[in-house]
């Protein structure tokens, strides 16, 4: 069992975050300053979508007020400026996760990133079958007898694209089960990931359980099998220091709106040699070298995967979000959120009839907790909390197979971010402790 790990300290030894700093941070987030049902809003749904600091909102506005133009076309002043800030944003986000510029592809969200990989791989299979592309591309092709491995804790976005890839190519989908505490069964993983495995896709941190998966062990299994690794970093990139090179994954995806950025923008990281090899997923303008009436040749990454007019203002705003996280210190954010997560779990475990999913108190987890309240449906729990101004997520959190495995259909999830205080968590715990009495459970 893993114990709570301490993230590496910053070279500039900044003090740990505390409530006073969080209250200052909160001033940067206009949406948090409001009453909901007569109570100050306590936003504990950042796992679904996070809020935006003023600097992000202003970056998007400034782009439209001063620089709006299509990128990578046109020689006029605005087009040049727009292209510059758009590509600077790419570098900022690439640096944030340890990627190279060319390896950082804009998508509309993480879901699109995963679908992009899934379709690029089935396109590779089609190309290979028709003799298009070279031997390295044929190695990426999937077919009957090949296996794709996921885990039992995946978000639907990191499950269904692989189900459909298996369907399109004739490959078989397998999964690594979890144990009752929400950890992957690594003993079984070692048997499941084998020579038939072409691809291993898993989440870095579970959006339901809060579990942080052992990436390096899983990558080692994939390398032994010669399989590609896809990392769903939706719940990790916003909250902890992510280094895709150090983790040695082949692909990673995350969404802007979960990391203080706007909706409509996400990132796909892929190793350059893979991205330049894979066929595109969408085709059209801005991603080609030569086009005839019969066929087209494609640019290398990232343009290869960025057909059509891009999400320019969103990219610029996402870079502002990344700068906000960097200035605050992502390691400090991680440590603060771990503390909030532990406080949630310890508190919830002490409430009669409440069952917390995932790692027990004292075990490593990100700053979220999903739970079941005996005799009360999650929808009612959410409504009860909303009446106190507390925003949480209810439902299956896009992880039906995981809920089924745990014998549940719906749960309530509280997820914290850098703008939540320990008082927020205590208010939330106090509210949860009143739920069963209200619903006479």
């Amino acid at each position: 069992m893993a114990v709570v790990s301490t993230p590496p300290t910053l070279s500039r030894a900044l003090p740990a975050m505390d409530n006073a700093e969080v209250l200052r941070i909160r001033n940067d987030f206009p949406v948090l300053d409001q009453l909901v049902n007569g109570r100050p809003l306590i936003y504990l749904d950042s796992g679904a979508t996070s809020q935006n600091p003023l600097s992000v909102i202003e970056a998007e506005q400034e782009f439209y007020e001063q620089r709006n133009a299509a990128v990578h076309r046109g020689a006029h002043h605005l087009a040049v400026e727009a292209t510059e800030v758009f590509e600077d944003a790419r570098q900022t986000v690439a640096d944030f996760v340890g990627a190279q510029f060319e390896e950082t592809v804009w998508t509309s969200n993480a879901t699109e990133g995963l679908n992009l990989i899934s379709y690029a791989l089935s396109n590779a299979s089609l190309w290979a079958a028709q003799g298009r592309g070279d031997a390295r591309l044929r190695e990426l092709a999937l077919g009957p007898g090949d296996e794709i491995v996921v885990t039992e804790m995946e978000h639907h976005a990191n499950l269904i694209p692989w189900q459909e890839l298996a369907y399109r190519t004739g490959a078989t989908l397998r999964y690594i089960p979890i144990d009752d505490s929400g950890s992957l069964r690594m003993d079984q993983a070692a048997e499941i990931v084998g020579e038939r495995t072409k691809l291993l896709a898993f989440t870095h941190a579970s959006n339901v359980l809060g579990t942080i998966n052992p990436v390096s062990e899983l990558v080692a299994l994939a390398r032994r099998a010669g399989a590609l690794v896809v990392l769903d970093a939706c719940q990790s990139a916003p909250h902890l220091s992510l280094d895709v090179k150090k983790l040695d994954v082949d692909f990673a995806v995350f969404s802007g709106h979960k990391m203080l950025g706007p909706t409509g923008i996400g990132v796909l990281y892929g190793k350059q040699e893979l991205l330049d090899l894979l066929p595109p997923y969408q085709t059209g303008g801005s991603m080609i070298t030569t086009v005839t009436m019969e066929r087209a040749e494609y640019l290398p990454s990232p343009q290869r995967f960025e057909a059509g007019t891009q999400k320019i203002s969103q990219a610029v705003a996402l870079a502002a979000a990344v700068n906000y996280l960097t200035e605050t210190g992502i390691d400090r954010v991680h440590r603060w959120e771990s503390e909030l997560g532990q406080r949630m779990v310890a508190g919830l475990e002490g409430i009669d009839g409440v069952r917390v999913l995932g790692p027990a108190a004292g075990q490593d987890r990100i700053g979220l907790a999903a739970f079941d309240v005996a005799g009360v449906h999650a929808h009612d729990v959410g409504q009860f909390l909303d009446a106190r101004g507390i925003a949480v997520r209810v439902g299956h959190h896009c992880a039906q197979p995981l809920h089924r495995r745990l014998g549940l259909t719906a749960t309530t999830r509280a997820s914290a971010y850098l703008y939540n205080t320990t008082d927020d968590v205590d208010e939330f715990l106090d509210a949860v402790s009143g739920v069963r009495a209200y619903f006479r459970a």
Partner: protein
């Protein structure tokens, strides 16, 4: 609007009492024509399987099984209690009225003369996310009636 206006006493009572619940243990009356419908709300997992038995144009029985939040369960319970003994046309009209109130975002008030205990769900109309919870068994009943009648 306060939480207590949403979760009226009648709703909390019915969410526990669950009138008409227990489909498999409740055989349909002999000679009646039956229709059955299964409805699922994929957002929250609320689920209802509901059967109506119609005898000479009258709802002889409305039995259901389900899992879900207190509003969805209470609404099925209230519906079952109300529906039995109504004519098919009456029930269709009550369902229509219930839908109108629930979808009105609070603009159309519930008439207790028409809706009886179901008028207690009026407050749900102000919570867009919960309207489906209150409607799920009524949608199932409408579908089941179409098959039975």
């Amino acid at each position: 609007m306060s939480l207590d206006q949403l979760y009226q006493q009648i709703i909390l009572d019915h969410s526990k009492a669950r009138h008409g619940s227990g489909l498999s243990e409740t055989p349909a009356p002999d000679g009646a024509s039956t229709g059955q419908s299964h409805q699922l709300n994929p957002v929250c997992g609320d689920e209802v399987t509901l059967r109506v038995a119609v005898d000479h144009g009258t709802v002889a029985q409305l039995a259901w099984d389900g899992a879900g939040c207190s509003i969805s369960m209470a609404s099925a319970s209230v519906l079952s209690e109300m529906a039995e003994g109504m004519s098919v046309d009456e029930l269709r009209s009550v369902i229509g009225n219930f839908r109108e109130v629930l979808r009105s975002r609070g603009k159309v008030h519930a008439d207790p003369e028409v809706l009886g205990d179901a008028a207690a769900f009026e407050g749900v109309a102000r919570y867009a996310a919960r309207v489906k919870c209150a409607m799920i068994s009524w949608v199932a009943a409408e579908d089941a009636l179409n098959q039975a009648a």
